[in-house]
Symmetry: C2
Subunit: 644 residues, 2 copies
């Protein structure tokens, strides 16, 4: 189990015509410029970000006090990281100049001891680390470290990485087990995965040791600081902001249930996996798999959404997955991709890449509009806007994507996921290539002492046919593993045009041991019938209901297609369905038309003795979940519907 699977930098992947090239073109053309404008307070009608201005203030080029949340620096960091991926996708001199100017400001804002943080610079850096629970300093540091590595990888420019190395050195001087240092950790995990990444990028074990330290001390001492607002007012503690919220109620080696703030949880578990990849400590793997099992067996929505409660943006209890009041934050889904990928690099079991696929096409992707300029923080599985916009316990559920947020962690996070999507396609060892995701792309992978070129062509997820061309200099014995998605029951596999039956299934991967020769082609055809999906009956409110899937896509019903009062619709699970290709907002879509009924009960005084209600035959139209809310605002939508 413990072995090293190599993963790739997005730079090594060239995306070709298809779903994700299209989204990366949008990233380059629209998302990155839109977010840059917004971070510079130049977008009208949205909450002001102040994020870039804060660095200008910290660099003493502008007078003022920082604005936005106490972790506003992280938005800048995640944007730099996303922009770096965009530069890998498509060079852009003007963009690179903008980033260089921003890096100059960050460098100028750095204190002589290495410290970087706009909020605590304004407060006075002697206040640093004074609110580790809610101050997010190490969290911001982590994102800036990740950004600096991405930018270095994209451009070869080291300035930002050097700035962050100086900062990391300060952190290493001030935190650690030694006497006189702070024995503490950040309330929001992130520094850990950043330090592991920095250790790899800089080949310096100090950062790995520091990351290990932060992982191991978590939950063993209580950070002594209380919660603090950006404006300095102390908030009272409540049940919801106790140590479990911070994933600090127990040491990581005692964790067996996914708990607390969902984003914090994902970043922490990703760090646990990073630690395991470097230590191979059996207890960590045991806990990682227990946590994973708890998540997938009891605490995740069908879309990959996680976090069933708004208050504390958190996990609750097993089988508590209300479709209309979950939190299902975009960032939590993205964090789950990070964790799942690390699990997959330890144990190549398709359940991890299956989860990444689920997020890529559902729970995470729904966080951004098709035009790239509007975002969901919360991704509900069901909404009735007239109710959700009134009720206090649904205040968190927006019925439309917003241009920005006061707390805008999600937009730049989804941008960096889109930009780095190539990273999740392949992994490899010296003699084995794993194909996890089906994305049109070209890359070179070292295999058996030579680099082989893999050309992958597919119209996935709209169509299940994947064509792989392997270019190599000389023939080579090697293993190729193709993920068989959990949703897939039937497929065909051809090599050089002929059915290939000498495969075997290993942990969900169709595995081919073979002497490959130059110009081998593999065609993998996954059948994608429309499926009605049912839920475990321990979940409340899903009985007698189904969701619709085709391939990796979860579908939904939207008011614009089906009229209001969606709860009155029933789908005939044995009826006909018709799959139609088309466009939604100029982006490809595949919609499904189904036989169904509308059961309308109108009662003068709400309740009446049951009778045989008339069911009017209707054709129900379902669209991919991630595409809802793009054609009109404030639409009713639902993923789970009654069936007959």
């Amino acid at each position: 189990m413990y072995h090293t699977i190599n993963d790739m930098n997005p730079k090594e992947i060239t995306l070709l015509e298809g779903f994700w090239r299209n989204r990366n073109q949008l990233l380059a053309d629209v998302i990155i410029p839109y977010q840059w404008d917004t971070l510079n307070n130049r977008t009208e009608g949205v909450p002001l970000s102040h994020a870039v201005e804060n660095f200008r203030i910290a660099a003493k080029e502008l007078q003022g006090i920082p604005g936005g949340t106490i972790f506003q620096d992280s938005d800048v960091a995640k944007w730099i990281e996303a922009a770096s991926y965009s530069l890998m996708f498509q060079p852009n001199h003007a963009l690179e100049t903008s980033i260089d100017e921003l890096v100059r400001l960050i460098e100028k804002s750095q204190h002589s001891n290495g410290y970087v943080n706009t909020f605590f610079t304004a407060k006075g850096i002697e206040q640093r680390w004074s609110d580790l629970e809610m101050g997010h300093e190490l969290y911001c540091a982590g994102h800036l470290i990740e950004a600096s590595i991405a930018y270095y990888q994209a451009t070869g420019k080291r300035v930002l990485m050097d700035v962050m190395i100086r900062y990391a050195n300060l952190i290493a001087e001030e935190f650690g087990p030694e006497e006189g240092k702070l024995h503490a950790y950040d309330g929001h995990p992130e520094i850990e995965i950043a330090l592991y990444r920095l250790a790899d990028a800089s080949d310096d074990n100090r950062y790995r040791n520091l990351a290990d330290y932060f992982m191991n001390i978590r939950g063993t001492v209580r950070n002594k600081n209380g919660s603090i607002n950006a404006d300095g007012a102390r908030k009272p503690k409540s049940r919801w902001f106790e140590s479990d919220y911070f994933l600090a109620d127990k040491p990581i080696r005692s964790m067996t249930e996914v708990n607390g703030h969902a984003v914090r949880a994902m970043y922490l578990y990703a760090g646990m996996a990073d630690q395991y990849r470097r230590t191979g400590e059996p207890e960590l793997w045991e806990k990682l798999t227990a946590l994973w099992n708890n998540l997938v067996q009891k605490r995740v929505y069908i879309t990959g959404g996680i976090g069933s409660q708004s208050h504390g943006e958190r996990f609750t209890v097993d089988y508590d997955l209300p479709p209309d009041r979950g939190y299902t934050e975009t960032c939590a889904s993205i964090g789950l991709v990070f964790w799942a990928w690390r699990m997959s690099c330890i144990d190549v079991d398709s359940r991890y890449a299956d989860m990444i696929e689920k997020e890529m096409y559902n729970g995470a992707l729904s966080g951004i509009s098709l035009d790239g300029k509007a975002y969901f923080y919360v991704n509900p599985l069901e909404i009735t806007p007239r109710i959700a916009t009134f009720r206090q316990d649904m205040e968190h559920v927006l019925p439309h994507r917003a241009g920005w947020f006061d707390c805008a962690c999600c937009p730049t996070n989804i941008a960096r996921l889109i930009g780095s999507i190539g990273k999740y396609i392949y992994s490899f060892t010296d003699t084995h290539i794993f194909i996890h995701q089906y994305i049109s792309s070209e890359t070179e992978v070292p295999l058996g002492g030579q680099n082989i070129t893999i050309l992958q062509e597919t119209n996935y997820p709209w169509n299940g046919e994947i064509r792989l061309g392997l270019q190599m200099q000389r023939e080579t014995q090697a293993t190729l593993s193709l993920r068989k998605p959990a949703w897939c029951d039937a497929w065909t596999l051809l090599i050089n045009g002929t059915d290939w039956n000498a495969w075997y299934l290993e942990k969900g991967y169709i595995t081919i041991d073979r002497k490959w020769v130059p110009s081998d082609t593999v065609v993998f055809r996954l059948e994608m019938p429309v499926k009605c999906i049912q839920a475990d009956s321990r979940i409340q409110g899903y009985g007698g209901k189904a969701a619709l899937m085709r391939g990796p896509l979860v579908y939904c019903l939207e008011e614009i297609d089906n009229g209001p009062q969606l709860q009155e619709l029933l789908i005939d699970s044995k009826g006909n369905n018709k799959v139609e290709e088309g466009l939604i907002q100029s982006f490809p879509s595949t919609t499904i038309l189904l036989d169904g009924y509308r059961e309308t009960v109108r009662v003068d005084n709400l309740y009446e003795p049951m009778k045989q209600n008339e069911r009017k035959q209707v054709q129900v139209k379902a669209i991919p979940y991630f595409q809802w809310g793009n054609r009109a605002k404030d639409q009713e939508m639902r993923v789970w519907f009654r069936i007959v």
Copy 2:
């Protein structure tokens, strides 16, 4: 429409063996003593009330500061009112002595200008009326006035009523349209209905005029005070505590939808009906019926519960009736009884007495345990304790009745409803007797110039047979109206043992015009089959589901009878059912056994393609909703279940 129907004092009704005599015996034996102990801080394991102690402090017989909520005086008032009804039911010298001692304290706490309020006495009465929005002074005054009238009616003792008349006179001096007076009203309606009642009891129109003034100024000026806590700290306003919460966002004559804080709403609408009864102003009646229609057609639970949201304890929007997160406060259901009764005294339409019946046996009555010592503030229609006790948006939903509350408005309120239940049985004019509720009792009603005695015998609600004996001195032409409950489709009517067909239905009442002779007997037999009830499909989450009723009783499934995971149960709506009489906690019950199924779906990873699920045949047991939670704590319970 506008005419005066006479109603009766509970004192005029003698309850005979049956459901409500039993509950009134419990009131006398257990509820009143238990609550008295609790109001005196003598009950262990419950939040301290301080309510009596506060009067001792205000009377300067004890040093200290008042404890509890700012409206703690109202708990004392409602207890006196309930205890007064109990004295009407059964004389009790010791109890009367306790009340007299309490009245002495209240009198001693009265300021020379007439003012009575323990909290503002402690603050200094120059602060009086300084927080009309949240201070509840006039609300407490109203409850004390109601108490004083009940105590006077029960015992003939005027001391407390005289105290309250002096206070009412102060209020009349300080509030009113005249220059120099306060042009304002209380944030929580109650003083209005109390003043109308005082005007009748004292035959003094000043109090009626003052009540009219408070009714009419409401929503036309904004009370200038902000919200204030008992500890004096000002709370920030939020969307949920704006003027609509206080039913003060518009004048009463502009109100057409039931809105805001549900208890405030009920007390206000009851006041509107009181005003109409005295003025006959058509616009008021038009608004009252619009409000009533909005409530019964769009905003009430099947149990009579009202208020769909915890935050603001309030109404939300049409057809928003979540079974697991409603507020459905006991006090709101009681308030709806008050309003409905007043509507019924204006327009004898069975829909009003139907609603009272619904509350008597369901939404209000579930607020008290069968042993009288535990209370629900919130009466959910569905609960899964392991989820409800975790989730923040269900914090208000207790899975068991509590011995008392920090804010303990409901226990004394349900006590006074039980004690005054006789009031709701009859109303009459000179030539017409209306029978609204079927309760074993004896009373005298003036009819056609003589008093006739009505003896009513029934085992209602367990059985639908009602026997009426009419005793009179001489024969008399008169009209007798018997409510045909909305749930009832089939009945028989006998007079002196013979089918009587010369009835006609008028607004839901089976109406008999006849020359009555001494010793006439009427037997009215209502059939009470078990019925599956469905809901209007505009309510979310009720599709494909049914609730169970028998007679006026709503039923529920409880874990103790059916095992956990109640959501897995389906009832066969065409299957057999068996009605069984028995006892629950020594109190009569009628349970229903039904053919049903348990559909258990176990999926390793929560979701799977639909298949024909096994449905295991089971017998499902349903009990009356008001009796749930009496045999074991923290049970799953649900009113709405799937049907086949």
